[in-house]
């Protein structure tokens, strides 16, 4: 109670308290002097003796202050005031420090919010830690994902270690015709229990139940939130109503919540419908499909155990399967991927590498500030010594310096938080658009705590450096020291140099990493994709299944479309195709070769195949290497012909002429022969990262497809052309939707975007690191030149040439830089291995890249040394020598 009252008094009646204290101590001194004078001393002498006995009025006062209630608050306020005053006197130092820390903390905050959203925050599904994505794959095709439906039903019926197994897949693009203009919307088939398993409650209505999911059940649908808002006016009485999809009435049973994101990045669907798969275990050829399977492990079951169980279940049923499946699935393997990894696998590595990079940038920034602080700390030795003499203890000085550091870092941290918030959108745009979890990136309490921790840590690091420097100093010597330019204890230099070397080494690692990404992007950008993207516009056209049910109707539509598109003004070439470079083909067909021994059942390779019109190769400028392209004569009823790519010829006819050979497709034994009439160049069909695989092209009239791409080459601006094309399509049939309109250049840029994003971000961080390290070198050399100006002056007075001095100073700086670069190169060799998957056609330790980065760094370091070195040689010896 008393303490509290005293605290209030101490805080709010400070001047009164201080006056009393002063009066009290002075009286004590006076009375002491009185005593001594009475003892016979002369008055002035008595006063002097009293002062000595007292031990300094200010020190006693300081000791009393330190014992008071709320002393720490008091001191904090004093320290803050003092710190602010010091910083105001050094606005340049304060600004450099705050900007450095703000950049470092900002970049870390932004990146950490991505790490947080992708890797730390719980997934938006119930008990997501126990959810696994199950995929079967062939070792030679590890990217293909999905599981065979017989295995799914089999696992579902017999697995003891999983709690629940559900599946999705079988995308369907349908034409929605009720309530407004015809629109192509994408949906996905799910098993009835999927939403319940992942813990999603509908916003309206109900989830699917098993009655919806029986084969032959009345068609049901759950609408996505946005589709419900857009097409159905967000009306609540839509539940139980029918909507028309592809001419089929489907009953709306529920609406998905607004926040729902499908647990698969490849699926951004607007509605879900029941799969209608028979869930009886056992192989029925008619039911065979490729599904995506999610399973929930029972609590306490390890993923490995579940994996072993699934493998065993597949092995057990193999004997019941038709022989062609047994062959096909002979060397198939099963992989269980934790759901989080399935959802972030593509980018988590890049995000972690970038997080490590920004952490290094912040570390360099802190080292830089620490270095500046040490330099200042040495310059401030007198001030500190004076304060010590006035009664401030070592702890008090340390606290003062730490307060200054924390003051700087909290301002830097606040600015960094603002910067990080701003950078979030930038960062989001660098992530692949497909990433569902990217929508949840934001600054949440965890990110805030992280930022706060960074600010405090950097404050301590930057504040402690001068403390270390101050701890080495001796009071009396400092105060006696006449010149501010005498040599200092070597330990300061050592600390200084070590910090700069560390900075350079870390920055070197970043520079090497970004160099590798720059080279990767360069390789990707200069990669010949096999076609000419310039001036090509593409758009997808989807034929509604009800209206266009037959092959004839598909090819008739395509012919009409081609005719109208070619007649559009400004169009040089027009083509339709069932596939496109970079986005792949829709179809893959089991293929064999005439005259070769029949493959084992299921042993035929499945080759991507696209029906294209005669002008397709000309439109994309894909070179015809041999033979001919298709003509109008390649149509229904005429002999079946195909064109293959070079990769096909190389793989299946090595050392032979592929032209004129026949391939066989279709049911085994039916032997539908197709003659290879042409060979064309390879294109990057499945994205830029994947080398061209064997591909087959067929005339669209012999291989019609219901979803086609219209490909136009023109000198017209894309916007005008797409409008013209859309109206041409509407003139044929207004119920046919056009979607996914993009120029080939857009698609190329999209394919390069991840590589470009990694390069841009890493490049940005490396540039920042390089700049900071250069500032660090500059600071140390400038400081050295300043401190040694006397020595330099003497040397020059004794006849040293300017070039000698220049060489000395440059040499001094470059030794530090080169040591740092060498250490950094060693670190880079180890660290860049973590980036292997981010690189494109370059190895992590690529010597020419490392050398180029090191050279660049050396040049920048030389420049950073040269500026202060120039100043050193401009020193006029007379001025320096006269200075003291």
């Amino acid at each position: 109670m008393h303490r509290l009252r005293s605290l209030i008094r101490n805080l709010f009646r400070r001047s009164r308290v201080e006056r009393d204290l002063d009066q009290e101590i002075r009286t004590y001194a006076d009375m002491l002097a009185d005593e001594k004078a009475q003892g016979g001393m002369a008055r002035p002498e008595a006063e002097r003796a009293a002062r000595i006995e007292l031990g300094g009025i200010e020190q006693v006062k300081e000791q009393v202050r330190a014992s008071r209630a709320g002393a720490w608050l008091d001191q904090l306020a004093a320290d803050l005031r003092y710190g602010l005053r010091t910083l105001r006197r050094n606005p340049g130092f304060a600004a450099v420090t705050i900007v450095t820390l703000a950049l470092g903390i900002g970049a870390n905050t932004a990146l950490f919010s991505v790490v947080n959203a992708l890797l730390l925050r719980p997934l938006p599904y119930m008990d997501a830690d126990r959810l696994m994505y199950i995929t079967e794959f062939w070792p030679h095709e590890p990217e293909v994902s999905g599981s065979a439906s017989p295995d799914f039903t089999n696992w579902r019926a017999h697995s003891h270690l999983s709690q629940q197994i559900e599946a999705y897949g079988g995308d369907r693009n349908v034409t929605l015709t009720s309530a407004g203009e015809a629109e192509r919307v994408a949906g996905t088939a799910v098993t009835a229990g999927l939403l319940d398993m992942i813990g999603i409650q509908p916003a309206l209505g109900r989830n699917f139940i098993s009655e919806d999911d029986r084969p032959g059940a009345p068609p049901a649908v759950m609408l996505g939130y946005r589709l419900w808002q857009r097409r159905l006016g967000a009306s609540a009485d839509v539940i139980g109503k029918q909507i028309e999809m592809d001419g089929v009435g489907r009953t709306v049973v529920g609406v998905l919540p607004a926040s729902f994101a499908f647990p698969d990045n490849n699926i951004r669907q607007e509605f879900l419908f029941p799969m209608g798969l028979s869930l009886e275990p056992g192989m029925r050829e008619s039911d065979f499909r490729i599904l995506h399977v999610l399973a929930r492990r029972k609590p306490g079951v390890a993923p490995e155990a579940l994996h072993a169980e699934f493998v065993e279940l597949v092995r057990r049923t193999a004997s019941e399967e038709p022989p062609q499946f047994v062959t096909m699935r002979k060397d198939m393997e099963i992989r269980l991927i934790p759901l989080r990894q399935w959802l972030t696998g593509g980018v988590s590595r890049a995000v972690l590498v970038l997080q490590a990079a920004v952490a290094m940038v912040l570390l360099i920034g802190c080292l830089n500030v620490a270095n500046l602080q040490i330099a200042r700390g040495i310059a401030r030795r007198k001030e500190i010594a004076l304060r010590t003499a006035l009664g401030a203890g070592r702890a008090r000085i340390t606290r003062q310096l730490l307060t200054e550091g924390l003051l700087l870092s909290s301002v830097g941290g606040a600015a960094g938080l603002a910067l990080g918030y701003w950078a979030l959108n930038l960062l989001r745009s660098f992530l692949p658009a497909s990433l569902h979890l990217a929508d949840s990136i934001r600054i949440d309490p965890r990110v805030l705590a992280f930022t706060l921790a960074l600010a405090i840590a950097s404050g301590v690091v930057t504040g402690l450096a001068p403390v270390l420097a101050a701890a080495r100093m001796r009071l009396d010597e400092t105060l006696k020291e006449g010149s501010s330019r005498t040599t200092e204890p070597g330990s300061h230099h050592r600390l200084h140099r070590a910090l700069v070397i560390a900075e350079v080494a870390i920055a070197m690692v970043l520079l090497a990493g970004s160099g590798l990404l720059v080279r990767s992007f360069g390789r990707m950008a200069s990669l010949d994709p096999g076609f000419d993207a310039e001036g090509v516009l593409t758009q997808r056209v989807g034929l509604p299944a009800r209206k266009y049910a037959t092959n004839q109707s598909w090819s008739a539509f395509s012919s009409q479309l081609l005719e109208r598109a070619a007649a559009l003004p400004g169009v040089q070439n027009a083509a339709v195709a069932g596939g496109l470079p970079l986005i792949g083909t829709r179809s893959g067909v089991g293929t064999w070769f005439e005259g070769r021994p029949a493959p084992p059942p299921g042993g035929r390779p499945t080759i991507p195949m696209a029906g294209v019109s005669s002008d397709y190769f000309e439109t994309l400028r894909i070179p015809l290497l041999r033979g001919r392209t298709f003509t109008a004569a390649d149509r229904e009823g005429s002999p079946s012909v195909v064109i293959v790519n070079q990769a096909f010829a190389d793989q299946f006819f090595p050392g032979q002429q592929a032209l004129g050979k026949n391939i066989t497709q279709g049911r085994i034994g039916q032997n539908e022969l197709k003659e290879i009439v042409g060979i064309v160049g390879n294109v990057r069909q499945e994205g830029l990262r994947t080398a061209a695989a064997p591909t087959i092209y067929a005339p669209y009239r012999q291989f019609p497809e219901s979803e086609i791409l219209l490909v136009l080459r023109s000198s017209l601006p894309p916007a005008a052309l797409s409008t013209a094309a859309a109206s041409a399509i509407r003139a044929i049939d207004p119920d046919v939707p056009v979607y996914d309109v993009a120029t080939m250049l857009d698609r190329l840029a999209e394919a390069r975007s991840t590589q470009r994003a990694n390069m841009a971000l890493m490049g940005m961080f490396a540039a920042l690191a390089l700049l900071l390290a250069a500032i660090g070198i500059f600071g140390v050399i400038a400081y050295m030149v300043n401190r040694r100006s006397l020595e330099i002056g003497i040397r020059m007075a004794l006849g040293a040439q300017r070039s000698d001095v220049l060489k000395m100073v440059l040499g001094h700086g470059m030794i530090l830089a080169l040591i740092g670069i060498a250490i950094g190169l060693g670190g880079a060799l180890a660290a860049t291995r973590a980036m292997r998957t981010l690189l494109f056609e370059i190895s992590p330790g690529d010597p020419s890249t490392l050398m180029a980065s090191a050279t660049l760094f050396a040049v920048v370091a030389a420049a950073a040394c040269y500026i202060p070195a120039r100043r050193a040689v401009r020193v006029d010896p007379m001025t320096t020598l006269r200075h003291d």
């Binding site: 009290e24 009286t27 004590y28 009375m31 007292l54 006693v60």
Partner: protein, 108 residues
């Protein structure tokens, strides 16, 4: 022996004891302690004043300004009720410690 050399907090007892005899100012307390301990304790102002201010904040002492015998304006400290209770407790504690140490020293 300077008071700082003793156990921390040991200065409390002599100060409380001194003030139990009547109000006194800083120098007076210091001199009085010197007298009663026959010069064993030399209380320096650097340790005396922090303790006085702390005990005042704890409510054991009260202070007011008064005129000294040499006509100087001095701050006089006096014992409060809680201070008197404190003194009693401190004495008991000290007696116990002293007894314990003595028995430890005399133990055979």
């Amino acid at each position: 022996m300077a008071a700082e050399d003793l156990l921390p907090g040991t200065l409390d007892l002599p100060i409380l004891q001194t003030l139990s005899l009547g109000p006194q100012h800083g120098l007076g307390i210091s001199r009085r302690i010197g007298q009663i301990t026959a010069g064993t304790f030399r209380v320096m102002p650097g340790s005396l004043f922090p303790v006085l201010h702390r005990m005042e904040e704890q409510g054991w002492l009260a202070a007011e300004w008064g005129e000294s015998e040499t006509n100087r304006k001095a701050k006089y400290y006096r014992l409060t009720k809680p201070g008197q209770r404190r003194l009693g407790k401190e004495k008991d504690r000290w007696d116990k410690v002293a007894l314990a140490i003595r028995s430890a020293l005399e133990a055979r």
